[in-house]
Amino acid sequence: MNSPDLPIRAEFVYDPAALELGYTGQTLYVNVETGAVEARPVTEEMKRTFVGGRGFDLWLLWQAVHDATRWSDPENEIVISSGPCGGITQYPGSGKSIAATISPLTDIVIDSNAGGHFGPYLKFAGWDALELQGNATEEVIVLINGASGRVQLLAAPPDCPTDTHALGHWLNARFAESENERELLSFVTAGKGSEHSYMGCLNFSLYDRKRRDLRYKQAGRGGIGTVLRHKRIKALVVRARPFKGDSNQPADIDQLKATGAEMHREIARWDPVQNRMRSRGTAYLVQTMDDYDLLPVMNFQYGQHPDTPQINGDVWEQRYTQNLPDGCWYGCTVACAHAVDNYEVRTGPYAGTQVIVDGPEYETVAGVGSNCGIFDPDTILEINFYCDTYGIDTISFGTSLAFVMECYEAGILDRTMTGGLDLTFGNSAAALDLLHQIAQGEGFGLLFGKGVRKMKAHFAEHFGAEPAFLEDIGMEAKGLEYSEYLTKESLAQQGGYGLTNKGAQHDEAWLIFMDQINNQIPSFEDKAEALHYFPMWRTWFSLCGFCKLPWNDVVDPKNAEAEEPAKIPHHVENYVEIFSGVTGREVTADDLISMSESVYNFQRVFNLRLGKGRREHDAIPYRSAGPVTEAEYHSRQARYDRQLKEWLGLDPEAMGVDEKLAAHRAYRMEQYEKLIDAVYARRGWSADGIPSPETLRRLGIDYPEVLAVVKAQLPE
């Protein structure tokens, strides 16, 4: 590896631990402010209760912060960990990294996962997790060199770029001697957009051998990139030791090979006739969501649009470079991490440059596309590229843009307030101007970059907007912008967004089909059970380093014969085998849920500790539950009128639109409150959403400091 020839502010020499049963047995602590660097042991208790990944992130962060810590405080940390199965190559989707911090958008813990090579490489450099604390007084790079056993805190020189694609090339030139060397390096970076907004994302790199260039996968949600840049960290650089498929030193490599081979066959057989992830990636969902009236259009007002075919999966299949092994970790045969090569940038500081655009994925197409009335693929690519290189979350950007566009069309905003931007739906040029403003930290972009919740307060206070209307249409929960699904007709999915630990992200539970289309969970108890099982199940992926897509985006039709096909039991069994095969821990499918339940409840208590996490914080904007405006009502009038008759015994013929809207609102919000009651009861929480001491004891997280938080919140 090249000696980067940068001023060394701190150095720590270590013995890179060999892995055993998926763990290195130590975590790395780096304080970028004081220069303190330490190795910390991973205890058996940590492994048993927190497993790894998000579990380790939360446990380490809990020790580091105070009750009053906010995102910008020096004691706030960014913690990154992959988990015990991260870095195996036998089973698809086994290379995720999970990052956590206290979020600038939500003031509670955010966790977000990413592909790319950093998490597994961190393990192959000798560390189960990385803690970054302190706010540096100068721009720094953290180098973790597993080959030489050295951690260095380096001063970044003035010519070191900030935006991800330029910085990646700079780092490669500085740190890699050869092509082989590049394959053993991975970076975590953000960008100028992260410096001036609260929606900064982290970019996790991988070196693409075929393209001979860097690719990036994003830990997008909740502003972790903002925290990275606030700490004045330009980049994290990890250099792995050379590794092989058995470098995790699993307990039973033959088991991993056998289970993996079966799954690879299933993918090869069924993906081409199912979702076609290998050619279209997650963008296949765009047309599906439109077909089912679930695609967010114009700030979640509508679920369909006649122009959707211009941005559907077929279009992206044409644009993506095909027949490349687009896995975001080795061995992933789902290989959905597609890219558009040789895209020529049209606007902004990199106009005229040819770049690789990673994606766009479904969330980006729906978020910055249909939800903003933009149906032009080139604009979506341009926004995708700039969001990535500026270090901005495409979901928060898209949902925030949709919000201000509706405000503009509703007359809440005008050009005097937007600095001259005409923010009508579909205005691609204005969308890009706004994005560049965020990166420059100027104009309306500066306010916009603070996200929907802060904009709502500003518009009400300074622009005379009606607060209640803003609350209805501003699509955020807990301060986190909604990801891109329409939930009005699925009560369970309203809970899937509202009853989360981190805010409105669908990765805890995606229940729309089960609930709205299949009608499989009609009662409150059914929905509560689903809102118990699926969040726990999906949390488990984040403990171990798995991607959730191979679980349910390609499935052998034999699954139809299963008792509970929605859980995809034969894939659950695969995970039992893989987890046992790596860690040597004999487990059952129920054990996986229990592991997650401990971590999930710990995160809920963490929210309580930070002053949130109660029932009032699980509220959702009304648009998530029903129609806000007359135009929305008219767009689905037959359905809404029928519901008034069937649900409430009302005669819609005898009602004005205002009365109908009011009747729907009262009914739907009452349903949501009843759902909360049922879910809390199922989760073992009080009516105010507080885990009971009995629940904490049952889950083995009744540590004195955890119990103390809960007891302080419960009535005597």
Partner: protein, 66 residues
């Protein structure tokens, strides 16, 4: 009359197939499990499987989404 997913109703017509029901309901998602009166229909037989009157048809869409 045919009942879909214990909720929606479709008028029955002689010779109606599973595929025609999927088309009528705009069920375009490729990963569905179809059963008629509790018996699963193989996914490659949708176009040739007739649906009897008064059938209880379930079309279970498997989960998707990020």
């Amino acid at each position: 009359m045919i009942t879909i997913n214990q909720r929606d109703e479709l008028p029955w017509q002689a010779g109606m197939t599973v595929q025609e029901i999927l088309d009528t309901m705009s069920y375009t998602f490729p990963r569905v499990i179809v059963s008629i009166d509790g018996v699963v229909v193989p996914h490659d037989k949708y176009a040739v499987t007739p649906v009897p009157d008064d059938a209880d048809v379930r079309v279970i869409h498997l989960m998707a989404g990020g």
